[in-house]
Amino acid sequence: GDSVTQTEGLVTLTEGLPVMLNCTYQSTYSPFLFWYVQHLNEAPKLLLKSFTDNKRPEHQGFHATLHKSSSSFHLQKSSAQLSDSALYYCALSLAHAGAKLTFGGGTRLTVRP
């Protein structure tokens, strides 16, 4: 079946350093890929969504590129901020499966001063 793998459960960075959170997927079909972010005691919310035309989505300084050859959609940011500390989920959906999302295990990012 379809699956999403986030290899790092915990990532700790110093403020100002670059961020890269890994996401790889397995799917028989060409999925849409997403990043959701959940700050402490808040609801998860959509951060980024892959485009069908290979544009690179960006939001709040974060970006991700869908690489079909390596089945990856890594999340990146050039300079981490304290406010980036949160739980990040990668997820996929398939066009024929409607809005149903399959999530990865999540990566908790902690940014220290």
Partner: protein, 114 residues
């Protein structure tokens, strides 16, 4: 904008007890979901409802029942709480079944079973 309201925020139950979580959305969205959140396991889909009067099982439906009372509300019942179980249940909605990926979540209901 809209909001998803989950009640209660915290629920403490006894082993074997039937427990119900409620979710209300004012987005006027067609589709609603219940996910279970466990550390390291991500979010796993329990039940979803494509439209009012529809009910579909997700990957983790065993041990749960759900009910879509009306378009704006979706309830989840833990049919028999397991001792020492702890989890967060997240309700979500999307405009329609065809809108891939844009889910709006509530803040969650935390379940503790003694």
């Amino acid at each position: 904008g809209g909001i998803i309201t989950q009640t209660p925020k915290f629920l403490i139950g006894q082993e074997g007890q039937k427990l119900t979580l409620k979710c209300q959305q004012n987005f006027n969205h067609d589709t609603m979901y219940w996910y279970r959140q466990d550390s390291g396991k991500g979010l796993r889909l329990i039940y979803y409802s494509i439209t009012e009067n529809d009910l579909q099982k997700g990957d983790l439906s065993e041990g749960y029942d759900a009910s879509r009372e009306k378009k704006s509300s979706f309830s989840l019942t833990v049919t028999s709480a397991q001792k020492n179980e702890m989890a967060v249940f997240l309700c979500a909605s999307s405009i329609s079944w065809g809108e891939a990926g844009q889910l709006y979540f509530g803040e969650g209901s935390k379940l503790t079973v003694l």
